[in-house]
């Protein structure tokens, strides 16, 4: 249940190859996140799996069976859209019951399932309202409810949290993760927010211009990025990347060190002047102009006191230094 395999999947729109060729294996019960910048093809990939777009070539298998030519209705998958896509003319109850109605389920059995889903998602008191009368978060839950009730082989989420405000986003993120823990169904989640990816995923697929840059667990990607793109994408604030003479010293074309892996003090390898300092209480972020190296961002403890104009010395933690070759790939 819920195992999805993509083999040499290609998607072109006219002349443009949005996705040149993708091979990917998603195991049953995994929470997989497709992450990448805008236009990288992650939504397209999701829609190919859903069946809302045809592949140009390649094979999509669901639980071992070839699903490439199956219409969306027959793939046994459920999707939560970015705009929730609720039926505006139907009540919440009818919205959630709709897939069951389409499957020809007995209305009484269906009603029970709707109640159950509503309970899980705390929608009990809204069942007879229309979507127009609900808030963003509530609509989000109705969309999820509509997906759950089908007991699909896998859930597909297309940037479901982007329309919510920051606080709500954190809440819903956790709710979705908890849902995954209780249902144990495969979930494929698309987002451009690497924080969502890092916190929710069992496995992250980093996409760039239709290609997979790296697949791995969040911590794998954090500690061992395969190339500069992944290194710069994962982790906030971004990894500092330095080229030129400084990189050559370490035998690489580019070196990278995360802001949190730099020690600050009055003495160290890199001397510079503090440009910008942001004191959050819990953390301190410094933007430092290091002589003959360039701009380096540092994340330190709340106790770090340096301010704009101060001279400061940075020491990269050597075991956390990343080295990249001329082709952008990590050097081992």
């Amino acid at each position: 249940m819920g195992q999805i395999t993509l083999k040499s999947v290609r998607k072109s729109f006219g002349e443009v190859d949005v996705i040149p060729s993708i091979d990917l294996q998603i195991n049953d019960g995994e929470f997989v996140v497709f992450v990448g910048p805008s236009g990288c093809g992650k939504s397209t990939l999701l829609r190919l799996i859903a069946g809302l777009e045809d592949t140009t070539s390649g094979v999509i298998q669901i639980d071992g069976k070839d699903a490439t030519d199956l219409p969306p209705a027959k793939r046994g998958l459920a999707m939560v859209f970015q705009s929730y896509a609720l039926y505006p003319h139907m009540s919440v109850r009818k919205n959630i019951a709709f897939p069951l109605k389409m499957a020809g389920m007995d209305p009484e059995v269906a009603a029970k399932k709707v109640e159950a889903a509503a309970k899980v998602l705390n929608l009990g008191s809204y069942l007879d309202r229309k979507p127009g009368q609900l808030s963003g978060g509530q609509r989000q839950r109705v969309a999820i409810g509509r997906a759950i009730v089908r007991e699909p082989a896998a859930f597909l989420f297309d940037e479901p949290l982007s329309n919510l405000d920051a606080a709500l986003r954190v809440n819903m993120r956790q709710e979705i993760s908890e849902l995954h823990q209780s249902l144990k169904t495969t979930m494929i989640y698309v987002t451009h927010d690497q924080v969502e990816a890092m916190t929710m995923a069992d496995k992250i697929v980093v996409l760039n211009a239709g290609r997979i840059e790296q697949v791995g667990s969040p911590l794998d990607l954090y500690h061992s990025p395969a190339n500069i793109f992944v290194a710069g994408f994962i982790g906030s604030p971004k990894m500092n990347l330095v080229e030129g003479a400084e990189a050559a010293k370490h035998g690489a074309t580019t070196i990278g060190i995360r802001p949190e892996h730099l020690d600050v003090g009055d003495t160290g390898n890199w001397i510079g002047t503090v440009g910008l300092s942001e004191h959050l209480g819990s953390d301190t972020f410094l933007k430092i102009n290091v002589d003959s190296v360039g701009i380096i961002n540092v994340r330190g403890d709340g106790d770090v006191k340096y301010r704009h104009g101060d001279r400061i010395a940075l020491t990269p933690q050597m075991d956390k230094l990343h080295r990249f070759g001329a082709d952008g790939k990590a050097l081992t």
Partner: protein, 289 residues
């Protein structure tokens, strides 16, 4: 979103509309073209090839030139009244006042009156030199009543048609006015622009697009004004109110001259296309849909 299945189905679903409109466009027009080269009169039996005779006679008919002038005069006259009147009315209706809804309804009403009613109401209740309202008013003022439809027939008809189309233009321009970017106006105010400057540099350019649409759409309909002429003056006196549409009608269905009327019909189509191209070129730049 489009999968192969839906694409094929889509093509089938569009076909009836496309086929019907295609036939509607091509078949009758081809027939008109065919007839235009025949000597064919419904009163006399038989047809024979006429070459370009029909076209020659139609174009050299003094009525044709008069009809052409009348058509252009009618269109331009109505356009001028409806554009300037429409802008003025739209500006007025955009201001805050009590009973906006009702006034709007009053202003748009003429557009929904069928052309035959509009024309006859004006002809009899207002223009008539004996019983019309203008005649009564003139007599009250000691003046001689003016026989509008006899002494200024084309102008009278322009008046009737403009009255019917003013609401349309007003409605369009009012809609455009109400979509004016308020924030832009406020920014201009903060920048020190007076009402007149704002009107000149913000409002007018915004309205230009709507005015363009109004001119375009109205021209298409105004070229084929017919009913109003039919029930008031029947094209007269003489050819004073005959436009191209009426001329072709007269030749086809009154004189039963199929050949000549067809030539006229083709010429009308050509003229309409010329006007359309001319218009599109002149103001096409204002419309980037």
């Amino acid at each position: 979103m489009a999968t192969q299945q839906s694409r094929a189905l889509a093509r089938i679903m569009v076909s009836p509309a496309v086929i019907l409109l295609f036939l509607w466009m091509i078949v009758p027009l081809m027939m008109t073209l065919y007839f235009s080269f025949l000597r064919y009169n419904l009163l006399t039996p038989g047809t024979s090839f006429a070459g370009f005779d029909n076209y020659y006679y139609f174009l050299t008919n003094p009525a044709f030139f008069a009809a052409l002038i009348n058509t252009l005069t009618l269109v331009l006259g109505v356009l001028v009244i409806t554009v300037f009147g429409g802008v003025a009315l739209a500006l007025l209706l955009d201001l805050p006042f009590w009973g906006q809804g009702i006034v709007r309804i009053m202003v748009i009403s003429p557009f929904f009156v069928m052309p035959t009613v509009a024309a006859l109401v004006w002809k009899n209740f207002f223009f008539n030199p004996v019983n019309g309202m203008f005649a009564h008013l003139a007599r009250n003022l000691g003046l001689k009543p003016y026989d509008f439809l006899a002494q200024a027939p084309l102008a009278s008809i322009i008046g009737i048609v403009a009255w019917a189309w003013l609401p349309f233009s007003t409605l369009i321009l009012l809609t455009a006015l109400q979509s004016l970017d308020r924030e832009q106006q406020e920014a201009a105010e903060m920048d020190g622009a007076s009402w007149l400057s704002r009107f000149r540099y913000l409002t007018i350019p915004h309205l230009t697009r709507a005015i363009t649409v109004v001119i375009l759409i109205q021209t298409i309909f105004l070229l084929s004004v017919f009913a109003e002429i039919l029930v008031t003056t029947n094209g007269g006196p003489g050819t004073a109110t005959t436009n191209i549409t009426f001329l072709v009608y007269a030749q086809s269905l009154l004189s039963y001259d199929v050949g000549g009327g067809s030539a006229g019909g083709i010429i009308a189509v050509v003229l309409a296309n010329i006007v359309a191209i001319f218009l599109m070129r002149m103001i096409g730049k204002n419309l980037d849909a």
